[in-house]
């Protein structure tokens, strides 16, 4: 048995207790000085700043429902502190049945208290426009997401705007902006008849000086002369077009060299599997090129070669399959990525290559 050492042990305990007390006090003081000490912070925080707001809706009140033309309703949706938008932007409307449809904003971007959208009733459509016409009334609330802009007004020395029917909605705020800036612009606006073409009065007023507006109702003047309008443009002109698919195809076909073309596929083209085209995807890091069939997703084609490529929902909302795009023009069909993210990435489960070309992925 070693001799008991009660005194040194007591002293040890006392010293330890004293040290603990001092440490606790110092810690308290330090924490009081900066409450979130001692963890470092990420220089550029991520959480709460993604700007995706993918799971947040905003409930807006329908405060005004008017009919600016036959078969068209215009809704004014009011709410506090709405996010700003630029001409060409659109809004996702979550209709009472759960359908989600996109409508271009056609009001004043300076008004942060309300959004304005207009919808034409499409008899044989997919049900969205019918629901807007039958189910959305003044005093009701509707959930919206966005706005988002995939059809921005580009900087150019001159502008030609081509709108077909309800395709005027994203173009109207562009006109107002261009007219206010005193820019060089022309509008070619086609439709079935004057009675079905919304916003005619305002548009003709905007273009009253210098004959900037050409209105072509089909029942009076037939189809608009796209070739002539495009041939009249100067080199460097930005051509923005929104309307039915045949109109946009015709514009694309008649576009003279040296003009840039910007299309808004407002009729939800792209989500229709019928107009998907086959294309090729190059996987740069793997040194492979895989063909993507018309009825196949990029994900399915890539998985055949790289079985461990991550994915999950396969519907373009969870974001797991996001990949960096090195080259190629992407047709984004997801509902997640922000416009900034879209500039360099895609969700390979739903998004495709525009116009059957070739995509290069960092895979």
């Amino acid at each position: 048995m070693p001799p008991a050492l009660p005194l040194p042990r007591l002293r040890t305990v006392a010293v330890a207790a004293g040290a603990a007390l001092l440490a606790k006090r110092a810690l308290r003081r330090r924490i009081r000085k900066s409450p979130l000490w001692p963890l470092p912070a990420l220089d550029e925080p991520i959480s709460g700043r993604l700007q995706r707001r993918s799971t947040t809706g905003r409930r807006l009140l329908v405060t005004e429902r008017t009919s600016p033309a036959d078969g068209v309703v215009r809704l004014r949706l009011e709410g506090p502190d709405l996010p700003a938008w630029e001409p060409g932007a659109h809004l996702d409307l979550v209709l009472p049945s759960g359908l989600v449809r996109q409508y271009s904003l056609c009001g004043d971007p300076a008004d942060t208290g309300a959004y304005t959208v207009a919808a034409r009733l499409v008899e044989d459509g997919r049900g969205g426009s019918r629901e807007v016409h039958t189910a959305l009334h003044e005093g009701m609330e509707v959930e919206v997401r966005g706005p988002r802009n995939r059809f921005p007004l580009t900087e150019a020395p001159a502008h030609l705007l081509i709108a077909g029917g309800i395709g005027i909605t994203p173009v109207l705020p562009m006109l107002r902006r261009l007219a206010a800036e005193g820019a060089d612009w022309h509008l070619l606006y086609g439709g079935r008849s004057r009675a079905t073409m919304p916003f005619l009065e305002e548009i003709e007023k905007l273009g009253a000086e210098g004959g900037r507006v050409t209105v072509v109702p089909q029942d009076e003047a037939g189809h608009p002369d796209l070739a002539a309008a495009l041939a009249d443009t100067a080199e460097g002109t930005a051509v923005h077009c929104c309307g039915p698919q045949p109109l946009m195809d015709a514009v694309a076909a008649a576009l003279p060299p040296g003009r840039t073309l910007h299309l808004e596929r407002f009729s939800a083209a792209g989500t229709d599997p019928a107009d998907a085209e086959p294309f090729e995807v190059e996987l740069r890091r793997s040194g492979l090129t895989v063909p993507v069939a018309a009825d196949q997703s990029v994900l399915a084609a890539v998985r055949a070669e790289l079985p461990h490529v991550p994915y999950s929902c396969e519907q373009g909302f969870c974001g797991t399959c996001q990949q960096r795009v090195l080259a190629g023009e992407v047709e984004h069909r997801d509902e997640l990525l922000t416009d900034v993210e879209r500039a360099q990435a895609m969700l390979i489960c739903v998004s495709r290559c525009r116009g059957g070309g070739r995509l290069v992925l960092d895979l």
Partner: protein
Amino acid sequence: MSNTQPAAVASERTLLKARRVNFAWDRTPLHWVPGDPFTTHTINVLHLLLPAGERWFIHVYRQVLPYIHDEELRQDVIGFIGQEAMHSQAHDDVLPHLKEQGLDPTPYTAQVDWLFEKLLGDRTLPPGRARKWWLLERVATIAAIEHYTAFLGDWILNADELDRRGADPTMLDLLRWHGAEEVEHRSVAFDVFMHVDGSYRRRVRTWATAFSALAFLWQRGARFFMENDPSLLEGKASFGQFYRSGRRGTLPSTPSMLKSIPRYLSRAYHPSQEGSTAQAVDYLTRSPAAVAAEARTTEAR
């Protein structure tokens, strides 16, 4: 030695899929448990930890996919990743709402971001053993954290006291949708850990780290919120309040939390032994957000 092997309850397995949920926060008050800022803020800590934490889960699981050689488990992991991605997004989208109400979470979330992105991120390690070790360590940590998310998920599904006190229905739906999915996929992280490693020593070690880190971050988060709440003069968070809220039923009770510790450390533990998949699935058929998500998904097809 069947009593020392994890025993999965087969009937608790369910097909996992992400749900495209949506929540409108414009009507949720700052104190969404009326008159109880401490409970509100203690649960709000979830919004601080989960966006970065669940992004990190996904980051790690993307790397572990090539090591999974069981097709069924692989499908579970694919579903798990999508569900976690939606959880991360949904909680992340609450943060701007807190900020609008005068409670800027950024000083805290920037630290959580650092923790998951830097401290627990991909370190510069030589390929081979070191890198594999770090991956396994993180996989085991996720299994330990998922033990607690499943525990909390089961708790929130049964927390009737919050309904009785008139808690905000949107926030309750977020928490219960999330909780139900955590219960649904509660076995995945543990199965992945057992599949790629399964070392008992690692399980205990990572549990100790995860538990201490969670306790540290949680009390700090609750104090952060209480002290910065613009509507409270002398906001304080204390263990006593936590204990009393647990007794009332507005937060998990302290004894139940203590009891869950030896269960995870038992050699026979398997997550399917706790919680009820049936209850979770039942809630998901009633949850306003999950029902709307289902409608949206069917329409998209």
